[in-house]
Structures are given as C-alpha cells and as structure tokens.
Amino acid sequence: MNFFVLLFLIIGLVFFTGGAVGIIRMPDFYSRLHPAGKLDTLGILAMVLGFALFNLKTFSISELLLSIKMLLIVFFVFLSSPTATHSIVDAGIRAGLRHWTKEDKR
C-alpha cells in the first residue's frame, strides 16, 4: 500500500514540477497557459489519489467517505481548471493578442 501512495505522490510531484517549469520557460502567453491548465490538473489527480489511498490505511466507513470527498475535489478541479484556461485563451484571442511564432524573439 505504501508503495502505491509514494508512487502516486511522486508522479504528482513530477507533473507539478513540469507545470511550474513550463510556466516560466514557455515563450508566450498561450503556451504558458498550456502547462498551467493541463499539468496542474493531472498533478492534482495523482496527488489526491495518493492521499486518498493513504487515508484508507485503516479501513472504515468514515475513512472511505473522507477519501470519496477528496476525489470530489479532483472532479471539480477537472471541470473548472481547463474551463478557466479555455476562457482566458478565448479572451486573449478576442483582445487581439498574437501567438508566438519561430521568428519572434523570446
């Protein structure tokens, strides 16, 4: 059990690190939103799965309920985080921000 908890936590950490590095390193506004929207969502999935498993060490109904509540957080983040990113990209395009091309300077 502990092995899976650690595995999930490490996977989540890798995704979160990738997201943080991507936000800093990506060249323009739109591509920066990509790690912010995608990697953070997946990182939260892995992290919270780890926590939920760790919580289920001593199995009982109340612990199971707590784990389900944790997974509900993941569900809502999955709904809201990509939608927020989508609407920000939409607003950027409507406001007329050009996307980055290879010729542009970083």
Partner: protein, 274 residues
Amino acid sequence: MKYIGLLIVAVCGGILLSATSDFPDWGYSQSPASTYLSNHYIEKSIEETGVPNLVTSVLADYRSFDTMFETAVIFCAGLVCFLLLRNYNRQKKFFYRHISTGVVLCFKDNCKNLPASKKFEQMDADWIPHDLIIMTVCRILIPFIQIYALYVVAHGDFSPGGGFQGGVIFGSSFILLAISYNLQTAMKKIKEKILGLLSALGVLIYVGIGIICMFLGGNFLDYSQLAKILPVDPIHVRALGMLGVEIGVGIAVMAVMVVIYVNIASEGRHDEGL
C-alpha cells in the same frame, strides 16, 4: 471647501496615527487583551455559548453587537453602489439580433424599446458570442457552489465558515452566471427589487433576533432568552440564536455582493453582460 475637507481628514488621520504609538506592542504579554480577555474566551467559551468553534462564538455571541454593525456597513456599501451608479437613462441605440440568422437590427433613439421575443434577443454594442464550453461547465457547477454556500452558513458553528463567507460564495454563484451567460440572464433569475429587499432583510433578521431577545426580558442579543419560546435547552439555544444571526448575515452579504457586481460591471445600466 475641498481644502477644508482635506484639512479635516489630515488632522483626524494625524490624531489617529499619534494615538497608535500608545498601543501595547504586538504580542506584549501584559496587555489587557491577553491577560484577561483571551484566556476567558479560550477557557469558557464552550460552556458559556455551547458552540465548539471559538471564532464563531466570539464573532456572533461575545461581540455580536460589533458584527451587527458590520452587517449594516455591508448593507450601506451596497446601498451606496446602487445610489451612485444606478443609471435609469435610456440608451441611445438598441441592438436586436435575429437568433436563427444572426442578422442584427439597430433601432435609433426615438423608437420604442421592443421586448425581447423568441426570435429576437436584445444585445449590446460590444456583444460577443456565448461560449458553449464555459456555459455548460458553469451550468453544472453553479448548483454545487450554492449547496456548498448553504453548507458553509449552516455549519459555521462547528467548522470554519459562517454568514460572511457563505454569503460571498452564494453571491459568487450569481456572478458566475452573469459572467458565463450575460447580465440579463442573471437578472432574470434574481430581480433587482428582490436583491434590494434581501439585503435589507438580512440586516432585519439580525436586528430582529436581538429585539426579540430584548422583548423576552434579556439584554439586546442575549440569545439565552430565546429558550422561553423555543423548546430546547438553554445552552443549545445560544447556538441556535447564532445560527439565525448567521443566516441573516449570509442573506445580506449575498444580496450586496450581487448588487455591487451588477452596478459596477454595467455602469448602472443593467443591460450589458461582461
């Protein structure tokens, strides 16, 4: 006149700033607040109020009078936003869009304001097409946000939360509706008149509970007097009184949040969706 006002503000500010130097230092253990008051709250609050959450018991019982006027201040903020920003002047131009074809008609000043029908919808000069993804996700999320807000209000006695936080969350669900659809859709769900009534009703519930306590023979906002009309034991009735007060705060905060957003976002005209 302007300079006299500025002078008064500067003098008052100077007096207040000079008074702060007489305050006890941060975390000074001999200050009156930390010698008597904090210990009393920490040791006695559960047996005196019957509420496990220390913050709620201080906010809604020991300092209930303070919280009542905080609610009144929030009501005044909403009132001021309404009075300063609300604009009843008619627009110069009206735009109507034929829904099935997308053709836009522009009506000039002197023609009558057509009601929106099934074929035509009224729109603004800077109208943008609705985004299906955002609309769908917000439609799914809004009920959950509202249930969560009710939970935060109702569970404020036992866990972090209370009227202010729950009211803000509930108000934000209406703001989300106004952002994701448009302002007119949100104003159809909750009318402007109802918003004004609700923001006053919240303060009225708070003050009303206090006055009921006074009529039952206690002090203003002395919740234990409510045991005379409610069939519960006197300790538990304090928690119940606090819950009533929190509901009043929640209603007032919710209505004021929406009023402030609506008036600022549309510059008081209530026609424009962001």
